[in-house]
Amino acid sequence: MSAFESSAPLQLPTVSQPQRVLRRFLRRPVAVVALSVIVAIYGIGILAPVIAPESFDDTDLRARNEAPSWDHPLGTDNLGHDLLSRSIWSAQTTVIISVGTVASAGLFLGVSLGLLAGYRRGLADFIIMRLGDVFSSVPTILLLIIINATLKDRFESWFGHVSEFTGIGWFSDSGVPSYFLVFGGLAVFGWVGIARLIRSQVLALRESQYVISARASGASTARILFRHLLPNVGNLLIVMLTMSLGSVAIAEIGLSYLGVGIQDRPTFGIMISEAVGPGKLQNVREHTHLILAPGFFVVALVLAFNLLGDQLTDILSPRRR
């Protein structure tokens, strides 16, 4: 197979394309709305310490299970937590976990391992891809539950030692160890898809004319990888990273619902579990507002990610335009 043929089906973006893609994106109202919803929820999460009316563990036992009012726009829960504040802090947890996981697993591990495997071939390729096979062949939720159930205590005591040793109290603050455990666990599984994608693209592109000429003119491996290969998989990478933000958020919510993820901070999973978890079915009628707050945010976020993914695939896949 000649170099030209192998790169032919992958007519990937030329330099001028980002602007064109952006313009196509802006012309689709659904895409713009979906992205705005995601940006809004992320913004709420990032600004949580500033905009949340109350701290996440402020309780008011005189105002338990109260319906929405001016004081508590989304009502209060069984312990008198303000649900608006809880939701805002939950958004923060979601943002930290999903951005942390996608940055460490998708962007860092996935891209570098994919580039390495595709460009170096040989033993590195073999080891990386077989490792990927192993990690992608376990039911993820199952192993995440095992990891969280078994390693949590060790992890917390280890973080305790680190903070004693370094004098940085921040390490053992409530929640921090479990953040690391959850996104560490998710990261172990999260890199495989992106690495496979990058590898397959690099395999196709490494024999293309422009990479060969770059190599011939003495460009270093790093330069070829980051200057010539990476920009050409950029569009696909953006789609995949966006979609993983969504799926990580869902995984985080599911784990904390089951009581194995984050526990010291509010998360949407915990809020849902407190509202309508096992044995609390009557809350659907008696205290409907309990499920409305987390339910609204979660459905909005997931729906926005689904729609955005759809739109991005449509915009970027050359044949379906």
């Binding site: 192998s6 192993l143 689904n306």
Partner: protein
């Protein structure tokens, strides 16, 4: 079978045990790293420390992890899957009835979701450019975007408590060990509904995309040009060709169901494998966890193998190119 494919399948099958060994060792080691073990949990807080230590010694829990692992694998391959520490029964006696329940539900979910999704995807694609296309996809996406954690209690409330259409949970203890569930039992409606809704949207969207691609092909234009009626073009040329790549989604759906079962079964109190997995982790039921992990991974690996082989079968370019040469 095309040349080269048999060899490829064989090579892939040979890697399955390797993957299973690595996965099972990771799960095994993780289980042993837990802060407490089943002896401690079952003995309770009032047990003498000496008694606990003696039981651990007897069961070989003080040996190095790799020795325990080798012993476990040795037993496993000779058909001894261990004892469920939670139920004090051989693991297979606990797992098989549960597997049967989970399988029945999942099979119905798969059949139902495909029966809805394929026509919906074709319908949406054929109405591309009208408002019906985004409406169909949107209507499917909305329920798919409600996480099961939210949809389960809401549907449960609506269908069971409010309308009284379905029996409330009530999976009797008898069903834990051996009594058949029966797909046509009313109790199965809720889990099937909850798991089908999210599955439909994904398949329908993919089908829509495939149909759109096929509609662009020359042979469809030729079929139209030679005067075939529209329905014949769609059923004979478009749908048939669009369906082929869709088959690969089957493997992914199987994988998603494995994960979904854990949550849905725990939520609805269905005595299936998913619920047992969760219980087993909580009670440090080592042999139970291992059996579930190995079972789940085997299904997963085989599903992925089917996906890859189907890809190669459908698209010979992949078979000749990089995809299968590894």
């Amino acid at each position: 079978m095309p040349a080269g494919l048999a060899g490829y399948i064989l090579r892939r099958l040979l890697t399955v045990p390797l993957i299973l060994i690595v996965v099972s060792f990771i799960a095994f080691a993780l289980g042993r790293l837990a802060p407490s073990d089943y002896v401690e949990i079952q003995a309770g807080t009032r047990a003498q420390p000496e008694t606990i230590a003696r039981i651990r010694e007897e069961r070989g829990l003080n040996d190095p992890i790799y020795e325990q692992y080798v012993r476990y694998v040795g037993d496993f391959v000779t058909g001894d899957f261990g004892t469920s520490a939670k139920y004090r029964l051989p693991v297979e006696d606990v797992l098989l009835p549960r597997l049967w329940i989970t399988l029945q539900i999942n099979i119905v979910v798969v059949i139902l979701s495909w029966m809805i999704a394929i026509p919906a995807g074709v319908w949406a694609a054929l109405r591309r450019g009208t408002w019906l296309d985004p409406l169909t996809i949107g209507l499917l996406l909305l329920p798919a975007s409600v996480p099961v954690l939210v949809s389960t209690p809401l549907l449960q409330y609506l269908l069971v408590v409010k309308l009284g259409l379905l029996p409330s949970g009530g999976w009797s203890d008898a069903e834990y060990f051996g009594v058949e569930l029966g797909i046509f039992s009313k109790r199965a409606v809720l889990p099937v509904l909850i798991m089908t809704l999210p599955a439909v949207a994904g398949i329908a969207r993919y089908m829509r995309g495939q149909v759109l691609e096929v509609l662009d092909q020359d042979y469809v234009r030729t079929a139209r040009a030679k005067g075939l009626p529209g329905t014949a073009v769609v059923t004979r040329h478009v749908v048939r060709n669009a369906l082929l790549p869709i088959v690969t989604l089957f493997g992914f759906e199987l994988a998603a169901l494995t994960g979904g079962s854990i949550i849905v079964e725990s939520l609805l109190g269905i005595p299936g494998v998913g619920q047992y997995a969760f219980e087993a982790i909580g009670s440090r039921d080592y042999d139970g966890i291992m059996a579930v992990v190995i079972l789940g991974s085997t299904m997963f690996v085989l599903a992925m193998l089917v996906v890859d082989v189907t890809y190669g079968f459908i698209d010979p370019r992949i078979r000749l190119g990089e995809g299968l040469s590894e």
